[in-house]
Amino acid sequence: MDIMEFKDVKSTPDIIHTYPSSIKNNSTPLVVDNGSYLSRVGWSVNETPLLQFKNLIAKPRKERLKKDNVEIVQVPQLQIGNDIVNIETMRFQLKTQFDRNVVTHFEAQEHLFDYMFTHLGIDTENSVNHPLVLTEALLNPNTSRQLMSELLFECYGVPGVAYGVDALFSHHFARPKPLENALIINLGYQTCHVIPVINNKTLFENTRRLNIGGWSVITFLHRILQLKYPAHTASITLSRAEELLHTICAIAVDYKEELMKWTNTDYYEGNIKKIQLPYSAGTNALTLEQQKERKRELARRLTEINARKREERLAEDQEKLRQLLEVQDLVEFGGEKEEIEHILGEFELKSVQDLQKALTNLNLRIEKTKQKILAASNIEEAEEPPVKQAKYSKMVFENDTALHSFLDNVKKMRQEIITRKLVRKQRKQDIFKRRTAAGQERMRIISQLARKEKGNDDFGLRDEDWDIYKTISKDGGDSDSDAENEKLLEFEEILRTHEPSQFEEGANLVEMHQLHIGIERYRAPELIFKPYMSGSPEAGLSEIIGYVLSLCKPEEQLKLAENVIITGGLANLPGLRERVLKDLISIRPFQSDVRVSVMENSALTAWYGAREFAKRDDFEKYLLTKKLYEDIGHEYFKEHVASNLYFPTPKEVMIDVDS
C-alpha cells in the first residue's frame, strides 16, 4: 500500500493577456461563466477560457501605525482571484460576491470584474466595448439581475449583455445535437438542480433545487477528518479536503453494500488510503547518537570561543606590557618629570611604584593565560568525559532464554499494573452510575451507615470498621498510587532498552502523521444523496429526481427518463452515473427506458455552451442593449432558450394603515 501525500496546489497569479486588435475592433463577445466556485472568462473566439479563477477576494487587515499624530493607514493590496496564492493563510479574510448561488455582494463583483477586464488587457477608455454573455443562477431574483445590469452598463459601459443559466447553456449548446427533451442534473458548488426540459422548453415550475453542493461535501469531509484526527485539526485544511474530494472520493453505487464491505478487515486493509501529512521531526525524535553528536558539537564550539577569547586577552596584555616597559625605560633613563607624570596619568597610574606593581601583575596574568591555553589544547586532545550512562543500561544475560524470561516477567508485571489501573477506573465510573452492581452496593452501604439503631451502636470499636469509608469514597477504596506509576515507568524503561523496536518513536512519528481514509471516501459525497447526514431536512438527489418526475405528465416522464444528463463540477465523481442510473431504475416502471449520461469535461461545459451561444448568427437578437436597459427598466433582460423567464417585478401594493 503506497502512501499518498497532499499536493497542496498553489494558484499562480494570472498573466495580463494581450488585447489583439482583431478582438478589439470587432467587439467580439466576451463569455463569462460566473460560477459560485470558479469564474471562467474567455473571448467567443477562444478554444478554452483564457482565465479561470476562484470567485474570491481577500482583504488583508489594515495595519495602522499611529505612533505620531498623523495616522498613516496602510491600505493593503486587495488580493483577487488567482492573486491569492495560498488560500489557507487568507481563509478568514476571504469574501465572495455570492450568497449561495446568487450574486448579492456587488462591491466584490466589481472587484472581480476589474480583475477580469484588467487581465484580459482591455485598454479602451471609459468602456468595455464588448457584449457579454454572462451566466446567472436559475431563477435569479430580479434584484440581483438589476444590480448586475447597473454595474455592467453604468460602470463598465458594455454595449450589451445576454444572461443565461449555466446548466441550460451546457445542455443546449455544448454538444452538437442535443435532444429536445432532457432531465438536466447540475451539481454545482453551492447547489444542485434537477431541471426538466421538454421540447426545448425549461419547465421552471417543475424544477427543484437542492441546497447542497460541492462546498457542503468539502466541509463535511473536512469536519469528519478533523474529528477523527483531533491532533491534526490544524493541518487538515479545507483546501486539503477539497483535494481529497477530487482525488480519492467516489460515489458508492450501493451505499449499504459498500459499508458492509468495509467491515471486512481484508477489504479495509486493501482499500484504505493512507495519506502522509507533512511533519517535522521534533527534538525528541533524535536518536541517542544524534544527541551525543549535537552535544559534542556544542562543546567544541564553546572551547573554540574560549580559546579565541584567551588569545585575544593574551595579545592585549602583551601589548600593554610592551607599552608599560617603554614607560619604565623612560623613567629609568631619566625623562622629564612632567612628561612621565603625564604618561602615567594616561595609564591611570599615580606613581612609579604603581607602575612597578602593574608590571608584575601583568606578567603574572600573561603567564596564567599561557598556561590555560596550554591546558585547553591538552584537553582537546584527550578523550572527552564519558557520557552519563543511561539509567537502565543493558543488563548482561547468560543467554537469550534468560533475557526472554526476564523480559516476559517485566511485561507481565507491567500488564498487571495497567489492568489494575483500568479496573480501578472502571469501578470509579460504575460507582457513579445508577443501576450498576458497584453503584448499588455503595448505596446499600451508605444507607446502612446512616441507619441509627439505638443502644447497640458498636461501630468503631474495631479498627476495620473505618475501612468502610474507604470503599464508599470517591476513589472506591484505592487510587493509583505514585509507587505504582513509578514502577510502571521503570518497567517501560527496561523494555525500551531491551526491545527498542516496540517503543520506536521515530517510526511512530511517521505513522502518527498519517490519515487513514476508508469509508470517508464514500461517506462524504453520499451527502448529496442523504442530506440528513448533516442535519438538513431536504430530500436527497435521487428522491428529488423522483419528485421532479412525479410532477410531470406520464408521457413527459418517459421522455425525460430517456435522457438524463449530469453536468457540473461534481459530475466527474466516479460511480455517479451508475448510482443515478440504479436509483432511477428503481423508481421507474419495470423495463421502461432509462438512460443516464455524464457530460464530458463537465466543469467547463457551461462556458463552452455560452461560447457557442455567442457564436450564433442570431446572437444579437438576444442581447440586452443599453438602450433597452434604459427604456424598459433596469431589471429587464431578453429571454432565450437557455435563459430564465422574465417576470417584471410587480408594483408594491400600498396598504393603507389608517383605514
Partner: protein, 118 residues
C-alpha cells in the same frame, strides 16, 4: 477617499466614473443577503404562473433517515444514552466513552443533532 481607490480609478481605464459601487458606498454598505431578497420578493403580488427562486426549494425527505455511526459511518443500531452518539459495535463504544466533550459535541453538530428535543 482612501489612497487605494484613487489608484484603481487611475489604473483601470475601461471604467467610466458615472457609477462605482466601491467608491459610491465608501461607508460600509450593507448588501441585502439572499434570504432578505427572497423574503422581500415573496411579499410582492406576483402573477399566478410565475416561479421564483424561493419556490423551487427541494421538498423535505419523505423517507425516514437511516442511522449511521458518527465515528465510522457504518450502519448504527445503537445510541449511547450519555453522549447521544450513534455507534455500530462495542469497539466503537469503547472509543466513545473515552472521547472528550468537544469531540462528541463536534460530531453532534456535524449531524445537526444539537437540539435538546431531538
Amino acid at each position: 477617499m482612501s489612497v487605494e481607490e484613487q489608484k484603481t480609478e487611475q489604473k483601470l481605464v475601461f471604467k467610466s466614473s458615472s457609477l462605482q459601487f466601491q467608491s459610491a458606498n465608501k461607508k460600509k454598505c450593507v448588501w441585502k443577503g439572499l434570504k432578505q431578497i427572497i423574503s422581500s420578493e415573496k411579499a410582492l403580488p406576483w402573477p399566478d404562473n410565475c416561479v421564483h427562486y424561493g419556490s423551487i426549494n427541494a421538498p423535505p425527505s419523505f423517507k425516514p433517515p437511516e442511522k449511521f455511526s458518527d465515528l465510522s459511518g457504518l450502519p448504527a443500531p445503537y445510541t449511547d444514552p450519555q453522549t447521544r452518539l450513534r455507534f455500530a459495535n462495542k469497539d466503537e463504544y469503547a472509543t466513545i466513552i473515552e472521547l472528550p466533550m468537544d469531540i462528541t459535541a463536534g460530531y453532534l453538530t456535524l449531524r445537526g443533532a444539537t437540539s435538546i428535543v431531538g
